[in-house]
């Protein structure tokens, strides 16, 4: 009777373990696929944000050209004003024209609200800061962690292997218990097989539960 119960138990448990192993393998595959998709989405969002900054930088180059030209023209106007006021006025107007050109570009900056020309002739557009700010504002980006997802896939893979091992233990138990059932008249051998089978069922069940606990 004990052998029959153990056979029944190990049969059912091996079926359950096989099913769980299959689920775990599916989960691993799902996470692997998800990791690739998350990586793609992450790249998409990153490229979009970098695209905004790149566009601003292109605009900043044009802005710098106008603003720096305006500054140079203004300086030249200042330099010649005493000797040639008419030329100075002309240069003033050219400078004003370039300033208005620079101003006309201001509304088109997307990552940063407007820019200005620094004393050293560069534009105060800090690409790294703008990118950091844009990234912080993109909550989805912060939550896309393909490496973590890949790690989940690895965990599921390891669990699948563990469950296959447990299934093998139950199959081994079935084999031993079958032998115990078959060797009806050799009592010592029958007892040994039964004990071994029982131990294997017990080890398998404990390992299965442990894997279940580890899986969360």
């Amino acid at each position: 009777m004990v052998i029959a119960v153990l056979i029944g138990l190990s049969s059912v448990l091996s079926a359950v373990v096989a099913w769980r192993a299959s689920l775990s393998a599916i989960e691993a595959g799902r996470y692997e696929s998800l990791a690739v998709q998350q990586q793609a989405r992450r790249a998409q969002l990153e490229r979009e944000l970098e695209g905004i900054v790149a566009q601003d930088l292109r605009l900043a180059t044009a802005y710098r050209e106008h603003a720096a030209a305006a500054r140079e023209l203004q300086q030249q106007a200042h330099d010649v004003r005493a000797d040639d006021p008419e030329l100075a006025d002309e240069l003033d107007m050219e400078a004003a024209g370039r300033r208005s050109q620079a101003r006309s570009l201001q509304p088109f900056f997307v990552g940063q609200l407007g820019v200005a020309l620094r004393d050293d002739g560069t534009v105060d557009y800090d690409a790294d800061r703008v990118l950091r700010w844009l990234r912080e504002g993109e909550l989805e980006l912060r939550e896309l962690r393909p490496d973590d997802t890949l790690e989940l896939a690895n965990v599921a893979d390891r669990r699948t292997l563990g469950l296959i091992g447990v299934a093998a233990i139950f199959v081994g138990a079935l084999l031993v218990l079958t032998l115990a059932q078959v060797v009806e008249r050799r009592l010592g051998l029958r007892l040994a097989f039964t004990l071994l089978g029982g131990v294997l069922v017990g080890v398998g069940a404990v390992t299965f539960m442990a894997l279940g606990v580890l899986a969360g």
Binding site: L23, M93, A96, R190
Partner: protein, 750 residues
């Protein structure tokens, strides 16, 4: 010990293997009698029949196993196909987004080129005005003007962004947001398809897993059948056969039910509706925009009821669309909208979107609903969701602020204080690391404003917590508002005689502050706004903060904070009540409420002439606009209007005394076609020199054009340009506060 072993041996030994003497005789005798009755070897025949039956059943089970294996393989293949399709969609979405953005940028560049060329045309026109009429230089500049204008027209024609096109700056107050958002529509659609493929792959995977289990059950069943043939004890044999048959039956039924399940179709139309909803939501700036987004999400959900991201999108559209707050972090939303948004977000979470964003929103929706309805379970749910959000994203200050708020609502001040301390740390330092100050005062003020608005909401619904709320507000302003985690310094300064003024584009407070030491004292102004008829006050982050406090030449100090041009889309101060709270080193020292009477005005930004102003919503842009020179709006009948002008002049002109007044007179004399009739200077009113946009040498004049007034102001900019602001309209119209409000709204804007 021996007795135990014997007992165990008896248990393990089949009854016929260890027979009692009596049993053996009886069994043997019965067997012989049966053999005699049946005419020889009856056990063998019965055994053959049993073995034959078992063989048939095993064959059936094997056949079922083969079918299950086939179905499992098919399911695995289908799931794999869908996962590949999902991955392909994700990659295509990424590529599509990049392609869309690049193409949009090309068009954008073309549009910018057109604006630059139009500005060059305006510059040439302006310089032609200063050249001697009829001279070669004059003609040359006129030709240059025409040349640039033609080039601008060609560039504009080559760009799909026209000034008045759907995505152009005149139709889109958030320009270029809508244009770039529309360029992402295809990538949203592909992302939606990706989600659909993933969902179907998951469902097919579940079927595959079921087939695996069925196969395992069938394998066990077959094994038990085989074992039943091997054992000789009748009871065991019957038990094995019974269990095996039961398992076979279960496996057969399970397989049938699993095979009957069908995978959902991939709904392209749902993906398209979702993409349209995303674009509408990303570009919405009023309740009509969010209602449009909601309609698209409704359609997407109708077509695919298990579409998690569509539920989330709809929740956002409901929440944001129901609020009248259009700046900062939105908090003030009616209960029914909160319930609907919470239900949709919960559904999205059930469908697998258990992200920090989802948990964070659920946490806030539950808080806002719970505090307004007095539902304690909603507050507990808020606490749980916010805690989950923080577990997923512990660096987000908003979740920490919300956690503190919920603890306060649940009257747990110690927990609230701990959460607010973490909130301040994460607001002021990147990842809460004290070695990495964030140095983003605008962002920090936005978080602070959101927290103060929420605390105001809490105090309104839990008046007995007012003391606790006030203390928390002071603590937050003393940290986040001051930009430091340190305890605010003690100060003997006092703030007295506070005067608050609301202009259509700016807010200002003036006060006497004896004992004020700027290097020691931090004064933080928090401006609250309440819409007409509404109950809740919301802090306006755009005008609140500690920067820009200056000594008033007339004595005392003032802080003039601009609103116009700092919001997206640009807006003027909304109608309703305003309240100023002044904090000195984290202590609230003054509070004052005012209600301006200028009504509803809309923003007009004219960076090309370095001006911004407010105007009635139904006024239209003038056709005569000249980039860099003239900008304006008029009523459709043309009898009322506003103009802004900028004259860039040589620096030598700045030395001319009263240049703005001269330019104003000259302009009014030469650009008479801008008015319903020729305006004539009202000499009796004279020229006054009141404040105008912070410019120098200001000149204010009145003109009369027969049926109405022209109120004009001019001033000299620091770069030598003269700026002019003009408002005109029928005599009676000047009795309303609108004309003054438009002039008051004019600010320098680059």
């Amino acid at each position: 010990m021996t007795a135990r072993l014997d007992r165990l041996r008896r248990m393990l030994t089949p009854r016929h293997a260890l027979p009692t003497p009596g049993d053996a005789v009886e069994e043997d005798g019965a067997g012989e009698q049966q053999a005699e009755r049946s005419g020889g070897a009856p056990d063998d025949r019965r055994g053959d029949r049993f073995a034959g039956a078992i063989a048939v059943v095993i064959a059936v089970a094997t056949l079922l196993a083969a079918v299950a294996g086939l179905l499992q393989a098919e399911a695995a293949e289908l799931a794999e196909d869908d996962r590949l399709a999902a991955t392909r969609s994700a990659l295509e979405a990424a590529a599509s987004a990049q392609r869309g953005q690049q193409l949009a940028q090309v068009e954008y560049q073309s549009y910018i080129a057109a604006v630059e060329q139009a500005t060059s045309a305006g510059n040439a026109q302006l310089r032609s005005m200063l050249a001697d009429e009829g001279s070669g230089r004059h003609r040359q500049l006129l030709l240059e003007h025409e040349r640039w204008q033609r080039l601008a027209e060609v560039s504009l024609a080559g760009s799909e962004i026209g000034r008045s096109e759907e995505y152009g700056p005149e139709q889109d107050p958030t320009f270029p947001r809508r244009y770039f958002a529309a360029a992402r529509e295809e990538s949203h659609r592909l992302n939606a398809l990706q989600d659909a493929y993933n969902e179907r792959a998951n469902q097919i995977d579940e079927r595959g897993a079921a087939y695996t289990a069925i196969l395992a059950v069938l394998a066990v069943s077959v094994y038990l059948y085989v074992l039943s043939v091997a054992v000789s004890a009748a009871m065991l044999r019957r038990s094995f056969v019974a269990v095996a048959s039961l398992m076979l039956a279960v496996a057969a039924c399970w397989m049938g039910l699993t095979a009957l399940q069908t995978a959902p179709d991939i709904r392209e139309d749902a993906a398209a509706a979702y993409a349209a909803g995303r674009v509408a939501s990303e570009t919405a700036h009023d309740s009509a925009g969010y209602a449009d987004a909601r309609r698209h999400f409704d359609r997407a959900i109708e077509l695919r009821p298990s579409f998690g991201p569509a539920y989330l999108g709809r929740a956002d559209a409901i929440f944001l669309g129901a609020s009248q707050q259009r700046g900062g972090l939105v908090s003030l939303v009616p209960v029914d909208a909160l319930r609907a948004a919470r239900a949709d977000t919960t559904r999205a979470r059930e469908l697998g979107l258990a992200t920090a964003q989802v948990e964070g929103r659920l946490g806030f929706y539950a808080f806002a609903e719970g505090i307004q309805t007095g539902d304690m379970s909603a507050l507990e749910a808020s606490l749980a969701a916010t805690t989950r959000a923080l577990r997923l994203d512990p660096a987000e200050p908003v979740y920490w602020l919300n956690l503190g708020l919920v603890h306060l609502a649940l009257e747990r001040p110690t927990d609230a204080q701990a959460a607010y301390t973490d909130a301040a740390k994460h607001a002021l330092y990147v990842d809460g690391d004290r070695h990495q100050p964030r140095n983003e005062p605008w962002l920090e003020q936005t978080w602070l404003a959101g927290a103060l608005t929420d605390l105001e909401l809490l105090a309104r619904h839990r008046p007995h917590l007012s003391g606790l709320v006030d203390g928390t507000k002071e603590w937050l302003v003393g940290r986040i508002g001051a930009g430091t985690m340190d305890q605010p310094e003690q100060s003997d300064a006092r703030i007295e005689d506070v005067v608050v003024t609301i202009f259509p584009g700016q807010v200002q407070w003036q006060a006497q502050i004896p004992g004020y030491q700027p290097e020691r004292d931090v004064i933080s102004a928090q401006w609250y706004h309440r819409l007409p008829g509404a109950e809740g006050w919301a802090v306006m982050p755009e005008v609140s903060g500690r920067s820009g406090i200056a000594a008033d030449p007339a004595g005392g100090y003032f802080q003039l904070s601009r609103y116009l041009g700092l919001t997206q889309p640009a807006a003027c101060m909304p109608p309703g009540s305003y309240r100023l709270e002044l904090y000195l080193n984290g202590q609230r020292v003054a509070s004052q409420e005012v209600e301006p009477d200028f009504g509803v005005l809309e923003a007009a930004l004219a960076r090309d002439i370095t001006m911004a102003y407010c105007r009635p919503a139904d006024w239209q842009p003038i056709e005569e606009q000249v980039p860099g020179l003239l900008h304006g709006f008029t009523a459709t009948d043309g009898y009322t209007g506003v103009y802004g002008l900028r004259f860039d002049l040589p620096r030598s002109f700045s030395e001319v005394p009263g240049l703005p007044e001269l330019m104003l007179g000259s302009m009014m004399g030469s650009m008479t076609d801008l008015f319903p009739a020729v305006p004539v200077l009202v000499e009796e009113a004279g020229t006054t020199d009141g404040y105008f946009m912070g410019l120098s040498q200001t000149a204010w004049q009145w003109y009369d054009y027969g049926s109405g007034w022209v109120r004009a102001a001019a001033g000299l900019d620091e770069d030598g340009a003269v700026l002019i602001g003009i408002v005109y309209g029928p005599y009676a119209w000047f009795d309303s506060p609108v004309a003054d409000a438009i002039h008051d709204s004019m600010v320098r804007h680059e």
